[in-house]
């Protein structure tokens, strides 16, 4: 293993974070272990399950498939960054609570990120578009039914002016 360290500066949930990282350090490990942002979860480490999804410059990506060095100069939002600074739940988070769009919570961070990216790009998605957007996030608890309901509810509430 190379011992070389590389400097990175990444904006994470609105805060500039700098670090010296090994080339092989995955982005999700850096977020979880170094920054202690443990809301992003590791499910498969081969890019299928989507539990580790984060927003990278506004786009949902898998943090297990990126190295921390690749995030240098980019802007990241994790699940911890979805709520308001005072801790108030976002409309999307609140909608997940309203429809019980989760059970064990493990895949939920990734689903929230996927749904957040969807609603930013398409504020009034159809059910089929919702299913497309979360189609890369595996959940074993919910059968996706109440997740789809949550995203649909969030879209309705956002369209109605809820913030």
């Amino acid at each position: 293993m190379s011992e070389a360290l590389y400097p990175i500066t990444v904006e994470v949930n609105g805060v500039a974070r700098t670090a010296q990282v090994h080339a092989r350090l995955s982005l999700v490990d850096w977020l979880r272990d170094a920054l202690r942002l443990t809301g992003t979860h590791v499910g498969c480490e081969h890019g299928v399950c989507g539990a580790c999804s984060i927003l990278l410059d506004g786009e949902a990506v898998r943090a297990c498939l990126m190295y921390a060095v690749q995030a240098d100069g980019h802007r990241i939002t994790t699940v911890e960054g979805l709520a308001a600074p005072d801790g108030a739940l976002s409309v999307l988070q609140d909608s997940f609570c309203e429809t019980h769009g989760l059970q064990c919570g493990y895949c939920t961070s990734g689903l929230l990120i996927a749904a957040q990216a969807l609603l930013e790009a398409n504020p009034r998605p159809s059910d089929a578009q919702i299913r497309d957007a979360i189609g890369g996030n595996l959940c074993r608890c919910t059968g996706y039914q109440q997740v789809v309901e949550a995203v649909r509810l969030a879209a309705e509430r956002l369209a109605g002016g809820d913030r």
Binding site: T38, L82, L89, L102
Partner: protein
């Protein structure tokens, strides 16, 4: 019964911490100075370990230890086996012989997981490959390679139960069918793998454990494996578990990590990576075929059933053979079948060990029974719904005792089936299918009417192991009201998404008439916990709910006793409302919740004699109807409560590829009184999705040379939001007479009938071709082959 909080729409207590990323899973437990484990796995399905050279690995930077089976097995005890098979010994690391590809042979401890993985690659193991057997039928042969030679054969358990006049019924019946139904090896495969962290305190002589766990008697088994007294292991149940549905039983992982933490006097953590989880995590589910025979009359009356079930448990046995035992409690399904022969055979092969999976063997059995019902209908040319209606137990027949000795508590199966058919507009669905067929498409409707035994009374243990006389499967709750008047409920295991905190708060709030949103629920650790048997077997609504209600009632009784003492009246003269107590007919005579709580905590001079100060109550509840031992014929009451589900599914199949698409899915569901409908519905939706996986996609496939061929999510296919359609549930409520509020269990709902219904729908779609398929998963290639086979037969 009308309720204030039970059955009402209300948000869960758990969801807010998860949607903000503030859950605390085992991988989030960071202990100071914690070290990490990576594993060396056997590449062979069967091999003697000739030597292990860890010199290079130990020399790596950051590496603290390399543990091999020789050291580990000499210093720990093997894990418990659920049946009487003392020579089937299992440790976390192979003891001289590896018995499946992927079995852990050595463990490396390093400063980080990455360094541990680097070093694990440098551990040199010399193997001498041995003969192996992968196919369960081949493993039954007298000359098959033996997985555990000391056990004498590959059969772990074999018994033929005969309940009722089976042979006479077969002789008298006008018709018979026989077929084989095959259930593929799959599992619940939670998105969180198994993980455990442990820390040894030499001053306290205490092992602290944080684990992603859902296992009965886990602290006790950990202590026994490590040769420690029970009170030297403290399991912290406040760890959020990232899904389990049965499989998070990682006792071997815990024994390994616990040993390392104590041996090295360092905190140690093992979180499986996905490959370790899939091939060496010992979490595969039932792998089973059924030889089914049914005797029935021309009018569709089913007279008797013969089931021979062969289950491949893999290379080791924990509780896995018992997954053939639970179905005894619902062996004839929801049907009036007076005579049943059941021959369960548990066999070992050189595959990963089997573990408990949602339903504990009931879903495969329901699949086989429901395929039998459809095959009887096809044999007679009878409508499948009419056949079911004819044989379903009628509402006026409850309580109903089945041939194997279990009594079903309550139900109205006909009403639930009718509701489901009405909700999906069955005549319209038939028209849709027929129109699709007329247009040349393959389309089918499937049904499953089946049971979800609930209440988690593990009496199959005493049925399958006559040396075991465990008849107690209690659960408990502690409720306390503090000096401020706030209520806290204490539960005694971890949760894996079932919403137990909401359950306890709702039930306690209902009894005490206090807002559940104000009630906190915490998880004890194993040294402060009351007895519990963990959330298995759809038991917590019944058992934890019952215990919480029992404790809350004692609190209420104490409040009434305090008021009666102060008003110098009888308890019967008092009214309890919202936590306040008034004298009937004299509303000005009132003691408020706050005043009563204050008396209990501060004013013993105002307390009735004999009532203990403070305000707390514990309640330990035994499973209703539990406690019995089997008769010599193997008749026994296992589970107390029986939920019912009627699935209706519409499937179309692409003729050219065999690809099935579920276009409509509805289930009628009766689990008695629902405590929190959103939670029950959520688990039912999830169970159906899991059933879709078992029916169509998921299989731990092994190659002929004993390698797991589906060890990643690229080849073990978990249904996504594309494969799972919109799901609809129609509720029905037949209260259980055995439980506190009429509730039944529901944690396995959906999964118990989903695979059967989908299999029946696929077969209905294939019926015009004269084809049938009885092997799960019914993957697109398998269906395509079935279609192609039917075509070539037609040509012949």
């Amino acid at each position: 019964m009308s309720f204030r909080y039970i059955g009402r729409k209300s948000r869960t207590k758990e969801d807010p911490r998860f949607v903000t990323g503030h859950g605390r899973y085992v991988a989030d437990v960071a202990l100071p100075g914690m070290k990490h484990v990576a594993l060396v796995a056997s590449p062979y399905p069967s091999a003697r370990i000739v030597s292990i050279d860890a010199t290079a690995a130990r020399a790596q930077p950051g590496v603290h230890y390399v543990l091999t089976g020789d050291e580990f097995c000499a210093n720990t005890d093997p894990l418990l086996v659920g049946v009487d098979a003392p020579e089937v010994k299992r440790w976390a690391l192979a003891n001289g012989v590896a018995r499946y590809a992927g079995e852990w042979v050595a463990a490396v401890v390093a400063d980080s997981r990455a360094l541990a993985e680097d070093a694990a690659e440098l551990v040199e193991v010399e193997y001498e490959p041995l003969p192996y057997v992968i196919d369960p039928e081949a493993a039954l042969a007298a000359d098959a390679p033996r997985v555990h030679p000391a056990h004498g054969s590959n059969v772990l358990y074999h018994r033929k139960f005969v309940w009722g006049e089976v042979d006479a019924a077969f002789a008298a019946a006008e018709n018979h069918i026989a077929f084989r139904a095959v259930w593929g090896r799959n599992a619940t495969v939670p998105i969180e793998t198994f993980g455990v962290a442990a820390s040894w305190d030499p001053g306290m002589q205490l092992l602290d454990v944080w684990a992603s766990i859902q296992m009965p008697k886990y602290p006790d088994q950990t202590a026994r494996a490590l040769r420690l007294p029970g009170n030297a292991v403290r399991v912290h149940f406040d760890v959020d578990v990232g899904g389990s549905y049965g499989v998070k039983r990682g006792i071997k992982h815990t024994a390994l990590v616990g040993y390392l933490a104590k041996r090295l006097a360092m905190p140690v953590r093992l979180v499986e990576d996905r490959l370790e989880n899939m091939r060496g995590g010992d979490m595969h589910g039932p792998d089973r075929f059924f030889d089914m025979q049914v005797a029935f009359d021309g009018d569709g009356t089913i007279r008797a059933l013969k089931i021979r079930a062969v289950d491949d448990v893999g290379a080791y046995a924990g509780r896995s053979p018992l997954q053939l035992g639970k179905p005894v409690t619902a062996i004839c399904g929801p049907y009036r079948i007076p005579a049943v022969e059941y021959e369960p055979i548990s066999v070992m092969t050189h595959k990963t060990a089997q573990e408990a999976v949602r339903g504990f063997g009931q879903s495969p059995t329901n699949f086989a029974i429901e395929r039998a019902i459809d095959r009887v209908a096809r044999h007679l040319g009878m409508d499948r719904i009419a056949l079911r209606r004819k044989n379903l137990i009628r509402a006026d027949e409850f309580p109903y005792t089945i041939p194997s000795g279990s009594t079903y508590d309550s139900g109205d199966y006909h009403a639930v089936l009718d509701k489901a058919l009405a909700a999906i507009d069955y005549p319209a669905l038939v028209r849709e299918r027929d129109a699709a067929r007329a247009a040349g498409r393959l389309a089918g409707i499937g049904f499953a009417t089946c049971l979800e035994p609930s209440g988690g009374n593990s009496a199959f243990e005493v049925l399958f192991n006559l040396k075991n006389d465990t008849t107690t499967w209690m659960d408990s709750c502690l409720v306390r009201v503090d000096l401020s008047g706030a209520i806290t409920g204490v539960m005694n295991t971890s949760s894996s998404g079932q919403g137990h905190e909401t359950l306890v708060a709702t039930v306690v709030g209902e009894v005490l008439e206090r807002d559940p949103a104000t009630i906190r629920v915490v998880h004890a650790d194993s040294l402060t916990a009351l007895p519990s048997n963990s959330p298995v077997g759809s038991r917590m609504a019944i058992m934890l709910g019952g215990a919480a209600a029992g404790a809350a009632r004692q609190i209420k009784e104490a409040l009434l006793a305090i008021a009666a003492h102060n008003f110098e009246c009888a308890v019967e003269d008092l009214e309890y409302a919202d936590g306040d107590v008034r004298l009937k007919g004299a509303p000005e005579k009132k003691l408020s919740w706050t005043q009563l709580v204050t008396i209990a905590h501060r004013n013993i001079h105002k307390m009735p004699p004999g009532l203990e100060p403070g305000l707390q109550a514990k309640f330990v509840w035994e499973v209703p109807t539990g406690g019995g031992l089997p008769t010599p014929e193997g008749r026994i009451q296992i589970y107390p409560c029986y939920a019912f589900e009627a699935h209706v599914v519409y499937v179309e199949i692409d003729r050219d590829t065999g690809k099935p698409t579920i276009q409509r899915y509805l289930v009628g569901h009766d689990c008695g009184v629902m405590i929190n409908p959103d939670i029950v519905h959520g688990m039912t939706y999830g169970g159906i999705a899991h059933g879709i996986g078992a029916a169509l996609y998921e299989k731990f496939a092994y190659t002929e040379d004993g390698q797991l061929a589906s060890g990643t999510f690229m080849d073990y296919l978990i249904p996504s939001a594309h494969e799972v359609p919109e799901l609809k549930i129609v509720d029905h409520c037949t209260p259980s007479p055995l439980t506190t509020f009429g509730q039944k269990g529901s944690g396995e709902a959906g999964y118990l009938g989903g695979p059967a219904a989908i299999a029946n729908a696929v077969n209905d779609a294939l019926e015009p071709l004269g084809a049938a398929i009885d092997t799960l998963p019914m993957t697109a290639p398998a269906i395509w082959q079935c279609i192609a086979g039917a075509r070539s037969e037609q040509k012949d």
